[in-house]
């Protein structure tokens, strides 16, 4: 190091080398666990937890320069090319750091929780190996400084998602759900890849740090229209990963995986990667493409919320709620409120992960996830119930909890730019309160239901026949781990400390994490993300609006969702029933896809298979038969003509030899006679 390097520079150089280790540690844990995990036994998860916790420690250790506004980066040449466009590396700015924080902290908590949740599973260490791989790829994804590296990690998290959704692959529903998730996100990935191709063809530079320059140069050279196309394609990738309409169908089915996977991958981190991608490549987005983002986000937000109102499976309610909240983040992106979107992502990660863990705890204890079979759990599981309530209220936006600040930031952005969007978001927020409180009421209040209670026919939503992509039943039974704790009908009990502890930590996060973006604390989150337009004061009208939303939503949840009273006046009831059925069947998206895409595709493949069997095979077999036929003739030719010539020559030689043999009598006197006759004849001839 040169003497003239300043102190700050020196710190930066020292810090940069740490970046590499953040994704590497979980990766090392993955390698160890996948190779000798079985032998480690009950130590296996602790290795995984330790790796991720160390990554969290590293994340905190680089916090100071990041908060000072420095972008840390570490790069290396790739494929031994010296073209700077292909030198990939890691870069951590405020945005990446926020994601690092979310992934490492929440990931560590969820891994700790999984130790209790997955206890006794026969592929215990394998589960943690996959979780470690997922964390490594997710950390790589958020630190990537290059579209290509991001795409690699993007696919890796997709693979991990597939592996973990179908972790209990003995269940056909889980295997089908994994396949569906993988294939559906792949559709979006094609869009992302096309966007990357287009960007590379136009500019030849894929580094995130250069996006501003790329945008300026494209607009300058009159190719601004391409920006819309590129950003729309990138957004399409985000639509697949973040499960926005129309590619949302995989996320509800992904609930077949273990609940802690749903919490980590399908609530807190991986599905948020789409939002992160939009935030990361925000410089490429134009007003036109932001319009697309806004509309799709809004549609997802509202439709998913209505579906969540009707679902009767805890995890599916939460899945649709995740869809809805991701839609909300996309709305914020579309409103150009990038910071608000990331803020909500951050807050949502805490409370939604906690809700999933709470749901997992309920399933762990009660062995069912049907709302109709649950109730009155608060007495039995006070910790789970209380923490779940904290998360629910945070999500509803109870003033001064995490969700309040992040949701308000989005609502404020909407109110300032698009009043229509604002009122639609208010509607969405009301539904959010309604479904999440309905979930809580029905789980934790009311008469205590036995886990083995008779399956009530009412309101029981059987999705088995239409949720799967390939026709296999989507939910054969509950997603609870395939093992039994005690006899059916045993009384539910509180989960062990290893599960409640991490939930408590996340509960604290769900309550206070939002303060990082509140004006009370001076908006450190906004500064971290380089946004200096934070609101200085609490917006009082919005506070009342949020409280009103909570009151209305909570009231509806109590009256309609919990007490099950139909508030609609008599003449409107048919319409209400129609709307309910529509939402309860998830707007028939699965059926539509099955009808419009999967069935035609399958029949196409079937006819192609027939074509293959008849025409292609026929041609091949025909060619073979012709060859065989020709071969027969050639063989005959060979045998008669060629062999005939060879054998004939032999026979001639034999015949000649045989004839010559006769001359050779062995009687020397005969030889001599011939000689004498010849000599006489010759001498006579000479005389003549």
């Amino acid at each position: 190091m040169h003497a003239d390097v300043s102190h700050a520079e020196a710190v930066r150089l020292l810090v940069n080398t740490r970046l590499f280790w953040i994704p590497l540690l979980p990766l090392i844990a993955f390698v160890i666990l996948i190779l000798i995990g079985r032998r480690l036994g009950s130590l296996a998860p602790w290795l995984s937890v330790a790796a991720l916790a160390s990554a969290a420690g590293l994340t905190f250790s680089i916090a100071k320069p990041v908060f000072d506004g420095v972008t840390l980066s570490q790069r290396w040449d790739w494929l031994s090319t010296t073209n700077p466009a292909w030198s990939i590396g890691f870069a951590v700015d405020g945005l990446s750091w926020l994601m690092l924080f979310v992934v490492t902290v929440i990931g560590t908590m969820i891994q700790l929780y999984s130790i209790g949740y997955m206890h006794g599973d026969k592929r215990f260490s394998r589960f943690f190996a996959y979780l470690s791989l997922f964390c490594a790829s997710m950390l790589g994804l958020v630190m990537a400084d290059h579209f290509l590296l991001l795409f690699m990690c993007w696919e890796l998290v997709g693979v991990c998602s597939y592996l973990l959704i179908s972790f209990w692959f003995e269940k056909p529903a889980a295997a089908a759900a994994g396949r569906k998730a993988f294939l559906t996100t792949r559709v979006g990935d094609v869009g992302l890849l096309l966007g990357i191709f287009l960007l590379y063809t136009l500019v030849g530079d894929l580094r995130f740090l250069h996006l501003d320059i790329i945008r300026a140069s494209l607009i300058e050279s009159g190719k601004g229209g391409y920006l819309t196309l590129i950003s729309a394609l990138i957004f399409f990738g985000a639509v697949g990963k973040s499960a926005q309409i129309p590619l949302h169908v995989w996320l509800p089915d992904a609930m077949e995986g273990p609940t802690s996977v749903s919490a980590l991958i399908h609530a807190a981190t991986m599905v948020a990667a789409g939002v992160y991608l939009v935030a990361r490549s925000f410089a490429l987005f134009t007003p036109d493409s932001l319009q697309i983002v806004l509309v799709l986000g809004l549609v997802t937000h509202l439709l998913a919320a209505t579906v969540a109102l009707t679902m009767t499976d805890i995890k599916r309610v939460l899945a649709y709620s995740t869809l809805s909240q991701l839609g909300l983040m996309m709305v914020a992106m579309g409103l150009e409120a990038r910071t608000a979107a990331m803020f909500h992502l951050y807050a949502h990660a805490f409370f939604k992960a906690l809700m999933f863990l709470g749901a997992g705890s309920v399933i762990h204890a009660a062995h069912t996830q049907e709302l109709g079979e649950l109730g009155g759990l608060l007495k039995r599981m006070p910790w789970t119930g209380g923490l779940f309530l904290a998360a629910a209220l945070s999500m509803c936006g109870l003033p001064f909890l995490s969700g309040f600040w992040s949701k308000d930031a989005i609502l404020l952005a909407a109110r300032e730019s698009e009043p229509v969007v604002y009122w639609l978001l208010v509607l969405g927020a009301t539904m959010t309160c309604c479904y999440v409180l309905r979930l809580w009421f029905r789980c934790f209040l009311g008469p205590e239901a036995q886990a083995s209670a008779a399956h009530g026919g009412h309101g029981k939503h059987k999705s088995a026949h239409h949720a799967s992509m390939v026709g296999a039943p989507s939910r054969a039974d509950t997603s609870s781990p395939p093992r039994s704790h005690g006899a059916p009908g045993s009384v539910a009990h509180e989960s062990p400390a290893i599960m409640v502890g991490p939930m408590a930590v996340l509960g604290i996060g769900a309550l206070i994490a939002g303060l990082a973006g509140s004006p009370w604390m001076g908006n450190p989150l906004y500064h971290l993300l380089g946004d200096h337009h934070a609101h200085e004061h609490l917006d009082i009208p919005l506070l009342f609006m949020t409280a009103g939303i909570l009151a209305v939503g909570g009231g509806l949840a109590w009256v309609v969702g919990f007490k099950r009273r139909n508030l609609l006046p008599e003449p409107l009831r048919p319409i209400g029933r129609l709307a309910y059925n529509l939402a309860a069947h998830k707007y028939y998206f699965d059926e539509l896809y099955a009808f419009a895409i999967i069935r035609p595709f399958l029949s196409l493949t079937r006819s192609l298979s027939i074509f293959d069997g008849r025409v292609v095979d026929g041609a091949v077999n025909g060619a073979g038969r012709i060859g065989w036929f020709l071969g027969q003739w050639e063989e005959r030719f060979d045998r008669t003509i060629v062999d005939g010539i060879v054998n004939g020559m032999g026979a001639v030689a034999q015949a000649l030899g045989g004839a010559g043999r006769r001359l050779q009598t062995g009687y020397i006197q005969q030889y001599l006679l011939v000689v004498i006759i010849a000599a006489v004849t010759l001498s006579v001839l000479v005389q003549l």
């Binding site: 010559g660 050779q664 009598t665 062995g666 020397i668 006197q669 001599l672 004498i676």
Partner: protein
């Protein structure tokens, strides 16, 4: 005695020798016939040598006598070996050269 008469005699002896080779069954007889041919030739050498006063021809006659002696030795040895191994000296019963 004129040259012509001598030539006739030697030719006759030569032809007798050829005939003897061709028809004799006994190997000794064949050997004798060969001797006849050699002697016919030797007599012819002597005849032309004295007619032309050429001493080389006489030398050839002596040479032929020596050769005949050698030949008789070798031939008799072969015949003896033959009679031992094949138990016969009859030429037409020996066809080892048959192809």
């Amino acid at each position: 005695m004129s040259t012509q008469a001598v030539l006739l005699i030697t030719s006759a002896v030569f032809c007798l020798g050829i005939y003897g080779i061709l028809v004799r069954r006994n190997a000794i007889g064949v050997l004798l016939s060969i001797e006849l041919i050699l002697n016919a030739a030797a007599v012819n050498f002597v005849l032309f040598g004295s007619a032309r006063a050429n001493v080389h021809a006489h030398a050839f006659a002596l040479f032929i006598i020596a050769l005949a002696a050698c030949e008789a030795v070798v031939a008799l040895a072969i015949i003896l070996a033959l009679s031992r191994s094949a138990n016969t000296v009859s030429v037409d019963r020996i066809n080892l050269l048959k192809g």
